[in-house]
Symmetry: C2
Subunit: 345 residues, 2 copies
DNA sequence: CATAAGTACTAACACGCGTTAACAATTCAA
DNA sequence: TTGAATTGTTAACGCGTGTTAGTACTTATG
């Protein structure tokens, strides 16, 4: 039905050349256009409902006006990521404000190197933001050497790539310190994901540092590794309870996992926080609504998303950002899942 | 550093013309290419790390190999949509399998008409999937008349657009029937969103039909309207409890909202399900982990996403799908938040 | 042997836009 | 009056690819 309207059509209707149309609509200041001519062009464009073709524009101007959000997890884990909506919501704001498109891409683990280069060359995007990067991702080194603007949502030491993250080590330490201050000595830990995910190993480090700082012994038997979702938290807590009946608190490095762990604790007939104190990480919306309300480390998800976008925009414009790595503040939200250690009968 | 590699470079290295390169790499069968020539071309492309430019390809072939996921909610609500990860996870599968890109777009309410046409014309995408459409969205009528492949994730009566959804009315009716079978007579309702969102009014209809079917009177005072997130559910339940202390069950048309409502109930000193039975809708992951576990209507989110994609793909290929509207089955998950009515003292 | 019918490839145009270099028209300075 | 400067506009090229129409060469056909 509706024929494609090109800038030529606008030019014809306005009685000018296609070049003039381009100058007017793109606001090219280097060439001065008579106001009445500009008005005529705008009027014609309006009347025809002209919208420039994104592909043609990208091809000619060598910029796609779009950025990529790259995820390397399995779709199954994407599906259970309570964090994704917060990130997307935060990105939408900036993206919309800057007239950008947002291309979501999932890269198969193992295919990273090939994929990053392909995305680059393909040029449907001008830059990319990498979610939950893994330290064993060989593609990141290749990205470093390329000239593609890229930002990591998550800090990996030793990389030249820019990043936005919180200080996971410190934040985890604060969370565990809280448990220690409450008198707990036997504190278990369930990580949020496999070690290669940077946030996982860093939060685990914070846990160990807190123990060390308080002179508590680190017991590997009190540690389990979960896998993003609540179900894994449930299973790992069951495992902990079976083998170690005597810990009185647990640091769980992700709220989604923690919520699963809480269920396992209740099913074991134990009370939170009377028998076991639990502190999470992320502060996803659900954390404020479970019973008891989950004490957790607040992650400024929206701010992370926004800063990532803006940092990427700077890189795309060729600017030199002040800092290579942006570290945003976290704070511990003490709610109802942590309490003073009571001597159990 | 890395210069852009074009098909011309590949042609030069392989000692053939650019056209031949195109034929080989795109597998054009209409023209026969000697196997050894094809091998030479592939070898050269491999060696140079050639990746076709997406924009140029889109421009020339008039197809962008990408689809759009359009959301019309505010970013603030996107951020609290526990459903989004499930949808995205489901779409990723199909999208990846078909070598498509996924462009996520947020359209400001009120700007729909202009935006849909712009997205069309812009041609960075070949088709679009509209999440949570609103029945008062005037842009949808315009979409109908255009020839842009589009699929609604959510059914709106009277539209020619294809859709994928569950039977919200029936599903809600089953949920409320469950409460009725448990002996409840005073059953409140909190909707999931404003009426124009199709799912909201449909689930509300199901609620009313169930009441009517059981000969129960419909009391408008027992109805509240929430706004997607848990906090709104919390507030609306508080409002319900203040003014109507005598209902014994509530149907909440979204789990996120229901989880907020549960908190309000507990804070009022009431027990679930002994004092108030509650049944939700959606079956988000958290529903299985709150206390008590939430009885709810299971939404096949992943399947909805996948069917939407595949339906859209059919439309993009110019095929005529068998049915205009796909309706997927739901089922009631009875867990722990619903129980037989006990006479309260 | 001449014609027809493949086979293997290429030159050339189109897609819609941004942009440079040039050109016509007007104004200004000498 | 002439040349230079300024203002307003456009012809023409390039971005990297898909695709049609055509060419040269080989093989079958009468």
């Amino acid at each position: 039905m509706s024929k494609r309207v090109t800038s030529q059509d606008v030019a014809n209707l306005a009685g000018v050349s296609r070049t003039t149309v381009s100058f007017v609509l793109n606001d090219v200041k280097r060439f001065s256009i008579r106001p009445e001519t500009a008005a005529k062009v705008r009027q014609a464009a309006q009347q025809l409902g002209y919208v420039p073709n994104a592909s043609a524009r990208a091809l000619a101007s060598n910029s796609a006006m779009a950025i990529g959000l790259i995820m390397t997890r399995n779709p199954q884990y994407i599906a259970s990521d309570s964090f994704l909506p917060l990130i997307m919501g935060g990105m939408m704001d900036v993206v919309k404000q800057n007239q950008l498109g947002l291309l979501v891409e999932w890269v198969e683990p193992g295919q990273q190197l090939r994929a990053y280069m392909a995305l680059t060359r393909a040029r449907h995007i001008d830059g990319m933001i990498l979610m939950t990067p893994r330290s064993d991702d060989t593609g990141l080194k290749a990205l470093e050497d390329s000239d593609i603007p890229a930002v990591l949502m998550g800090y990996i030491p030793g990389l030249k790539l820019h990043s936005v993250d919180v200080d996971n080590i410190q934040a985890a330490k604060v969370a565990v310190d809280h448990l220690i201050e409450l008198g707990h000595q036997k504190i278990a830990c369930i990580t949020n994901a496999a070690t290669p995910y940077s946030s996982s190993s860093q939060r685990f480090d914070g846990y160990k540092q807190a123990l060390a700082g308080a002179g508590l012994v680190f017991d590997p038997n009190l540690v389990r590794q979960a896998d993003f979702d609540s179900h894994s938290g449930y299973k790992q807590m069951q495992s902990l309870l079976e083998t170690n009946p005597d810990f009185t608190a647990v640091f769980v490095a992700s709220d989604a996992v923690a919520i699963g762990a809480m269920l396992a604790i209740r099913e074991a007939g134990l009370r939170i926080p009377e028998d076991i104190s639990i502190v999470g990480f992320d502060d996803i919306p659900a954390a404020s609504y479970v019973t008891p309300k989950l004490s957790t480390v607040h992650m400024p998800a929206k701010e992370i998303a926004q800063h990532s976008c803006e940092l990427l925009l700077q890189l795309m414009r060729g600017e030199k950002p002040e800092t290579k790595d942006i570290s945003l503040p976290t704070h511990l939200k003490i709610r109802q899942s942590t309490a003073y250690l009571e001597r159990r009968p």
